[in-house]
């Protein structure tokens, strides 16, 4: 949670600029342009830098905003204030339409897909009769309050910068919330987020809409600043330019968008007005120099300028410890969480010709620690993925509390009270331990994006963080609560994953090699914690290679080899089972 003070100072500073005597009017025009670009770039920060979805098409959304108000205010005489919500709705709903098609694209299809429809829409703007073809629409009425008309760049300046500061605040609020954590987890792949109930396509669509609405707002302001629109500023070149504004500023930071806009707009202006004096000659010398400077800037600061700038300031004080006295409501439980919690029957998973899991059956009872062991490649992690819905079984069935859950998605499995950790740690490294763990409690919170933006989610949020802090305390990482997850040792990161899984309030905990990378003392503490959980009524299913750890902890052991169950029993019987010894040590033993 960042302090509001710098934003207040910034807002006052921006409000004061027009009153400073001797400020050239041209500066105000530049600041207007910076504000307009910053709005779009801010959306891209959320979309690209935070959410990992690169879009070249933002200029098209600016166009939707601008053309909506242009058509409605000139053709139908609507007041610009009435067209504001309409502009936002048009950009937002077209974002839903385009987003439904494109956000499902993975990797590099997405940016290229957005480039394609960005270009297509640009040509559409320039060909449609009612949008004035290439000439566009002119004589758009100015914004006005009562009889005061915002005709000059100086008068619309306030409208633009109020929009920028408010959007920045709302965006930052959104990021610092339950929904925000889900968005920030998107960039690291979707398996971990989905294991805790995040509906990732929906989260992606949400940031897409957010970015489009900000772009539409910028377009609406642009139309009333220029009082005319034509297709040129909404083309692919502009879309690319918005993206590099965000990257130059620092794509992961809301204020990076504003900084990037300032740098790019000012740089272009300076180059355009001064370069011809130094280098007289024909052609676009400024474009050449601009392109070269862009590449040089990236080579010097690939992460953008905002984080580079911030590194000169002393580290902000770490967040305060959440008030752990707040209680979070328990997960909605099934009537009887007793008896057989999990029943795996003849589960089979084939990848082409490879049988990774071959008709494996076992169960997990209430208040029981079951270990799944076997040599490398025995199919243990695949079994986990079948149970948690990451993979769907080729045949066989899996039941939770007596009900079949075949091929249910991970989001549904976690609702039943089964939570997990991963063999390869899946935390968001640039989020704090507390925030990472709070993702585990995602389903136990209720606040949506709108209430987060407006800060109506604070009681819900405080409870979520309190629960996260309690679980961190339980696993013994209170000291590291406010550190970035990526800065912890691998062993500690595994423990963070356990805390995150505990935040689900599970009945069954699935741990994939929890003891790997832990020191001896840490292993003992982990074993003690798991026993304590069992005694508290939870069951644990764990995959582990450390035999000492397993034999001392597990109530029952299931042994897999080459995807097939070869033995099941108490640690004592497993230790002497000839099949198991053969699997681990070979025939001669």
């Amino acid at each position: 949670m960042q302090s509001r003070l710098p934003i207040l100072v910034f807002a006052i500073l921006m409000a004061a600029i027009p009153f400073i005597p001797g400020v050239p009017p041209f500066w105000i025009v530049l600041l207007d342009n910076i504000g307009l670009a910053a709005l779009v770039a801010m959306g891209l920060v959320l979309l690209t830098g935070v959410g990992g979805l690169t879009s070249f098409g933002q200029a098209a959304f600016v166009g939707f905003g601008a053309y909506t108000t242009a058509v409605l205010s000139t053709g139908y005489g609507l007041s610009p204030w009435l067209t504001l919500p309409l502009s936002l709705v048009v950009s937002g709903s077209l974002a839903v339409l385009l987003g439904l098609i494109t956000v499902r694209l993975s990797g590099h299809y997405l940016p290229l897909g957005t480039l394609a429809w960005g270009l297509g829409l640009f040509y559409l703007f320039s060909k449609l009769e009612f949008l004035g073809r290439n000439d566009g629409i002119s004589a758009i009425p100015p914004l006005s309050i009562g009889t005061f008309k915002m005709l000059s760049p100086g008068s619309i300046y306030y409208a633009i910068w109020i929009a920028v500061v408010l959007s920045a605040l709302l965006t930052m609020n959104l990021l610092d919330s339950r929904t925000g954590r889900a968005i920030r987890a998107l960039r690291r792949g979707h398996v971990a987020a989905e294991a805790f109930g995040v509906h990732t396509p929906r989260a992606k669509l949400l940031v897409f809409i957010h970015a489009a609405v900000l772009a539409g707002l910028s377009g609406w302001l642009y139309a009333h600043l220029q009082r005319a629109v034509n297709p040129t500023p909404f083309g692919a070149q502009a879309g690319i330019e918005y993206l590099f504004i965000a990257v130059v500023g620092g794509a992961g930071y809301v204020w990076g968008g504003v900084l990037g806009a300032a740098i790019v707009v000012v740089l272009k202006e300076v180059l355009q007005s001064y370069l011809p004096l130094i280098l007289p000659g024909s052609g676009q010398v400024e474009t050449i120099v601009f392109g070269i400077m862009l590449v040089a800037l990236l080579q010097l600061a690939p992460g953008g300028l905002w984080p580079w700038l911030m590194s000169f300031f002393p580290e902000a004080t770490r967040g305060k410890k959440p008030d752990t006295s707040l209680k979070l409501e328990h997960r909605a439980r099934a009537p009887a969480e007793a008896g057989v919690l999990l029943q795996v029957e003849k589960a089979r998973k084939q990848f082409g010709g490879v049988v990774a899991v071959n008709n494996v059956s076992f169960d997990v009872q209430a208040r029981e620690i079951v270990a799944l062991i076997g040599p490398n490649g025995a199919g243990k992690s695949t079994t986990f993925n079948l149970i948690t819905g990451v993979l769907s079984a080729t045949s066989g069935s899996i039941s939770v509390l007596g009900r079949k859950v075949d091929n249910a998605p991970p989001q549904e499995i976690v609702k039943l009270g089964i939570s997990r950790t991963f063999q390869h740690v899946k935390l968001v490294p640039d989020m704090t331990v507390l925030e990472n763990v709070a993702i585990g409690a995602h389903l136990r919170g209720h606040s949506g994006p709108v209430s987060s933006m407006l800060r109506l989610d604070r009681t819900d949020e405080a409870k979520l963080l309190a629960e996260a802090a309690r679980q961190i305390e339980r696993v013994g990482l209170t000291e590291q609560m406010h550190q970035l997850a990526g800065s912890l040792s691998l062993g500690q990161q595994r423990i963070v994953e356990i805390a995150r899984a505990l935040c689900v309030d599970p009945m069954l905990l699935l741990l994939d090699e929890p003891a790997a990378g832990l020191r001896h003392m840490e292993k003992q503490r982990l074993a003690a914690l798991l026993r304590e959980l069992r005694d508290g009524g939870m069951s644990v299913l764990l995959v582990e290679h450390d035999m000492g750890f397993v034999m001392n902890l597990a109530d029952r052991i299931v042994v897999l080899d080459f995807g097939t169950k070869i033995a099941e029993g108490t640690p004592a019987t497993i230790k002497t089972n000839p099949e198991v010894i053969k699997a681990y040590l070979g025939v001669a033993a």
Partner: protein, 346 residues
Amino acid sequence: MNTTIMLFLVQDGITNGAIYALLGLALVLVFAVTRVILIPQGEFVTYGALTYASLAAGQMPGTAKLALALGIGAFAFDLFEARKALHGRLVVRSFIANVVLPAIVLALTLSLAAQKPPVAICIALSLVIVAMIGLYLYRVAFQPLAHTSVLVLLIASVGVHLALQGLGLLFFGAEGQRGPAVLSGAFTAGALRFTGQSIAVYAITIAFIVALWLFFGLTLYGKALRATAVNRLGARLAGIRTTLSGQIAFLLASVIGALSGILIVPITTLYYDSGFLIGLKGFVAAIIGGLVSYPLTAVAALVVGIVEAFSSFYASNYKEVIVFMLLIPVLLLRSLAAPAVEEEKD
């Protein structure tokens, strides 16, 4: 619908599609090896085309000077990078490859340009000049960024595109140019008339696709490039110099770009900024091909060319809209067919 018109449109579409196929292949190649989405590919096209046209018209193309300037830049980058362990052989080798070579080509161009050299020499010179630009460009702009994210590389690629486009205006002016046909003459088969130029387009495209296929399938360098594309770290551990792979990829891309330019400039007038749109259509083909498959990209490029030809006949106003919107159903199909797989990004 008239069969003659239809055949004519198909023929036109295939000619353009062949060019898009070449560009699409280059884009796929560069992306797979270096993770750079090569927006300046279009500039390679215009540079190749306009250098060729200028030479054929007896004018001195500015691109030869650019090659030398970039070469000097590349040499400086080499020196700076090796500053801790500078030894004579390395300096000499870098000097010859980055400074002496483009200087010789520049001198050659200067002496030949005024005498309106024959078509073959114009082609060879244009290809060499643009190839050097591509090679040095990788050294100067992209090699220092090789470790960064796809997004940063993409933005750098946009920067390079802007600079090259501006330079294009400086070198060739705002006027469009046309070059002499690579292969003159024509013959008719039924209702269709085949020009030597269109035959040259087909022949060279097919030859290039086969050559690329052989290169990647049979040669050690080709295999090294494929290895780099699959896993950079793994390739490095196996002793493949990933910078070399990047250089080869850029070299191939610039040659392919320049060649495409030389092939179209006798058919259509090209301007200094025409490359962007041509390159983008190659992109559309590459995306349809999924940025990984060469044969699929080639087929997709033909489809793009034919769709373009038909839409410019029936709805010329919406030609570009239709071509770029073609992608949406393809992307939709792709995302439905292959649900997103888990990917770890930086």
